[in-house]
């Protein structure tokens, strides 16, 4: 299982309505982008971090496992701002880019934490069927839901194929690596379509008429949570504007 998906099903906010969690985390995310990065990003990032570890109850280890790769991208993304191109020498270190790079890293880290607050608390199976209410056509959400169901099976197949190839020294040289990789790609393709065909036959034998009905657990929107979220977002805006250097 993917760590974020596992977290989404096991955290304390799982029973909450996805709309509440979206309002809170996407609200913080938008504020991260719109408010001045300093101190805005520090406040929104801090709030998201406290919420995801505290009330949502995500273990710090799981959080770290989810953020370490994206944090690596944040760091590599800073590098281009620290060099200048053109002139003499053609590629050179540019210390003047440091404030902008630090600002970007702060904003990206805070935004990542806000995204994680949403991703680690909301299972896609809860979210996708509700997107219809926002005007996404049912055909599109159903294709997305099928993609979601298939992709774990395929990732599992991919892992099995990769292990089998590794056990047979399939990654010993470049030549064998390419052959093994093309085998992985083709195996996943064949299995994906085989799965789809089998699902098609299974559904046809149960009277498939074109709509896939799944049970969506009823969740109540909590007015208290929504009110608290609005208050928190207002407090973040106020704190940022008060603390912002003039």
């Amino acid at each position: 299982m993917l760590p974020l998906d596992a977290a989404a099903y096991t955290n304390r906010w799982r029973p909450r309505h996805p709309g509440e969690k979206a309002l809170l985390s996407l609200g913080l995310l938008v504020l991260t982008l719109v408010l001045p990065t300093w101190p805005g990003a520090a406040i929104t990032g801090g709030v998201a971090l406290v919420l995801v570890l505290g009330p949502a109850g995500l273990p710090p280890r799981a959080l770290w496992r989810a953020v370490r790769v994206p944090l690596g991208f944040v760091v590599t993304g800073m590098l281009p701002l620290l060099v200048a191109v053109g002139g003499d020498p053609w590629l050179r270190w540019e210390p003047a880019g440091l404030p902008q790079a630090a600002q970007l890293a702060g904003r990206a880290t805070a935004a990542l934490l806000c995204l994680l607050l949403f991703a680690a608390t909301t299972p896609l199976a809860d979210l996708l069927p509700r997107l219809n209410r926002l005007g996404v056509p049912p055909a599109v959400t159903e294709v997305a839901a099928l993609t979601y169901r298939f992709l774990f099976l395929l990732l599992e197949s991919l892992r099995a194929v990769r292990d089998a190839q590794a056990g047979r020294l399939g990654f010993r040289t470049w030549r064998t690596s390419y052959r093994s990789l093309s085998g992985q790609g083709a195996a996943v393709f064949v299995r994906a379509f085989d799965r789809a065909r089998r699902l098609e036959q299974g559904l046809a034998s149960r009277g498939y008429t074109g709509s896939l009905r799944v049970q969506v657990a009823a969740r109540e929107l909590s007015p208290a949570f929504v009110a608290a979220t609005c208050l928190l977002l207002a407090a973040v805006v106020a704190a940022t504007l008060l603390l912002a250097p003039r």
Binding site: L33, F193, L199
Partner: protein, 237 residues
């Protein structure tokens, strides 16, 4: 190349979302229409989406010793056509954002534009051109995947350059900067992706020709119904 969450200023993020919206809506309408005429295609589209997601989990060896992953836009565009890829790509990028924290929600529009719109169209255009000029399936697929990958990276460079212009030389200098930094890693990766896609398609021609015919990549043989029925009977028996 995914632009990470929070990287783009709000105005840029919104502008790229507006730029990709028509393509995604067009793709969604194509999918809705297709699903209405053939309800079974919904399952195939789901499989295609999952395939595109998993494709980006493959690790291609790269020159620097590290690994990178293919964008998969070239193969997707040749197999499923660019309009459908615009929607499937959007779904895949959304899933990558919320399942892997790779990419982001505010940068979804920019990522969709580079990876689900420009990449697939360049790849598909290249593929059609090569095929029309009499090139073989292999050459077409290789060039489609390699150029689709490169086009994706060029667009990403432009997006980053517009957001972070160089202090001295402006947007042009920044474009050169991001472009040259990516070029070192991307040109070998694009060739690598082209090669891998070529091998995958060659393998598929051998093991799964029926699916490729259904997707229109391989020409339908002269008497498709007769052979189709006989295999169906054999399988049924």
């Amino acid at each position: 190349m995914h632009i990470a969450e929070g990287y783009l200023p709000p105005l840029h993020a919104a502008a790229w979302a507006v730029a990709s919206a028509p393509f995604v809506v067009h793709g969604a309408r194509a999918v809705v229409h297709q699903v209405r005429t053939d309800p079974d295609s919904k399952l195939l589209l789901g499989a295609a989406g999952a395939f595109s997601f998993v494709l980006s989990a493959l690790k291609i060896p790269s020159v620097t010793g590290s690994c990178s992953h293919p964008t998969g836009t070239g193969l997707g565009a040749v197999l499923f056509r660019p309009p459908v890829m615009a929607l499937l790509g959007t779904i895949v990028l959304f899933f990558q954002a919320v399942l892997l924290a790779h990419g982001g929600l505010t940068t979804l529009g920019a990522n969709v534009f580079s990876m689900a719109v420009v990449g697939p169209w360049v790849a598909y255009g290249t593929y059609r051109l090569v095929r029309r000029a009499g090139g073989g399936l292999g050459v077409g697929v290789f060039l489609a995947a390699a150029l689709g990958d490169l086009a994706t990276y060029c667009v990403t460079s432009v997006q980053l350059a517009l957001a972070f212009p160089d202090a001295a030389s402006g947007v042009g200098g920044a474009m050169l900067k991001f472009g040259s930094i990516f070029a070192i890693t991307q040109i070998p990766l694009a060739v690598s992706e082209g090669l891998l896609t070529l091998l995958v398609v060659r393998l598929l021609v051998r093991v799964s020709p029926d699916e490729l015919r259904r997707l229109g990549v391989l020409p339908t043989p002269p008497a498709p119904s007769a052979t189709g029925e006989s295999t169906a009977k054999e399988v049924g028996a």
